[in-house]
């Protein structure tokens, strides 16, 4: 898992870290049961405040994406497979909406888009 903090970003540091960890979990790069670095280790590695990393883990725990086990550290939650799937579906839908808007700009009909998608889908499956 890579985390990159940008000073140029308008997002606060904790949001940046949170987004990247969430992304890693939702994308499947981190799987249920994988352990995450401890709050203090992550703070050291990123050279940020312990409070910042603590807040990140607390927020992610609220989203039920990670579990923290006292004395053992934090793990990617396995209890919430449906939730993760739901989240990923939501993201997929967002992207689809984007595609629909884009196709409208190109004055494609619904059928055009479906046809195009089917074509690409088949191509993808054969490779």
């Amino acid at each position: 898992m890579n985390i990159i903090i940008s000073n140029a970003s308008s997002d606060p540091i904790y949001i940046q870290i949170m987004n990247q960890i969430r992304q890693s979990i939702l994308s499947g790069e981190l799987r249920a049961g994988d352990s995450l670095p401890s709050i203090r280790q992550l703070a050291k590695d990123l050279q940020v405040s312990v409070i910042t990393t603590k807040r990140v883990y607390e927020e992610l725990e609220k989203e039920k994406l990670i579990d923290s086990v006292v004395g053992k550290g934090c793990f990617v939650s396995g209890a919430n497979k449906d939730f993760i799937r739901e989240q990923r579906m939501k993201r997929l839908e967002e992207k689809m909406i984007e595609i629909i808007r884009e196709s409208k700009d190109l004055s494609m009909s619904q059928q055009d888009l479906i046809d195009h998608l089917t074509l690409l889908f088949e191509e993808e499956q054969t490779t």
């Binding site: 606060p12 203090r40 703070a43 050279q47």
Partner: protein
């Protein structure tokens, strides 16, 4: 639990006064004591160390009373400063021989490895050390007696940028144990602020605020815009303002209010600690 508890500390000097300062330094975290030069940071630190006796108020370090349990406290704390006064004519080795027997938990192995890491030769005399090297030496001493609390007075002022980054790692290493705490004072906002959890801001002998750094940075905002926006009512919202012929730049301590107030008429920026320090010192408005 708090690593340090200051209660109503007052110390009056002819030139200035440390005025009724109460401050908690939390255990397990790094706290930065910031403020312009000569506003009482060093006096506060010296009172924590029992070097200066307050006129009134109390100091409690690691649950022990200063000065009653001064010796116990000093076994458990490390002091880093660029004016730690060692005997100038002695070598590092002799100075270590002098210091080590005082500590119950002296770790000779750790000490030699720090000397190596900091590229300090044991044969070097104290008078030959640069300011930065003296800080490194006192850091080596502090880290070699298993200090639970590190008190650093202006530690980075004599350090080169390369070692400052290394220092961040050393301090973060110490903070892997959540029972440990660090407090440092500084008048320049350095890269040390990156890892600070809490910020206590001192100005003119008074505590302006003491809170989590992230909260401070989210609460304050820099507003930039046309000087015509400033009427006497609006001015009171600012902690400090800098006006020029081409506009104004000011600090507000309530970002949301400023967003409502200025809408799209002005630009709101994230402040740095330096901005906060500059405008507060300039404005001179004190608020708890």
């Amino acid at each position: 639990m708090n690593a340090i508890e200051l209660r109503n500390l007052t110390k009056t000097y002819p030139q200035f006064t440390v005025d009724n300062v109460s401050l908690d330094i939390k255990q397990g975290y790094i706290t930065g004591l910031i403020g312009p030069n000569g506003v009482g940071k060093s006096t506060l630190i010296k009172m924590m160390l029992g070097m200066i006796r307050p006129d009134s108020g109390s100091v409690n370090i690691l649950g022990c009373d200063m000065p009653k349990q001064e010796v116990d406290i000093k076994q458990r704390i490390g002091i880093v400063s660029d004016d730690c006064f060692y005997y100038e004519h002695l070598s590092i080795r002799d100075t270590k021989k002098m210091i080590a027997p005082f500590y119950k938990k002296w770790n000779e192995k750790k000490f030699s490895s720090y000397l190596e890491q900091f590229e300090l030769s044991p044969k070097k005399k104290i008078e030959e050390l640069s300011k930065g090297m003296k800080v490194k030496f006192s850091l080596a001493v502090a880290l070699s007696h298993e200090a639970e609390l590190l008190i650093m007075d202006e530690p980075t002022s004599g350090l080169d940028p390369v070692f400052r980054r290394e220092l961040l790692d050393l301090l973060a290493d110490m903070m892997q144990d959540e029972r440990n705490s660090i407090i440092f004072s500084t008048h320049i906002t350095t890269d040390l602020d990156r890892i600070a959890d809490y910020i206590a801001f001192i100005n003119r002998g008074k505590l302006v605020f003491s809170e989590a750094k992230d909260e401070v940075l989210e609460r304050f905002a820099i507003v930039k815009g046309d000087s015509q926006l400033l009427d006497s009512d609006i001015r009171t919202k600012f902690v400090g303002i800098r006006e020029t012929a081409v506009g104004f730049e000011g600090l507000v301590d309530n970002r949301q209010e400023a967003e409502r107030l200025f809408g799209n008429y002005a630009i709101l920026d994230k402040p740095s600690l330096e901005d906060i320090m500059y405008f507060t010192a300039k404005g001179g408005r004190i608020h708890a």
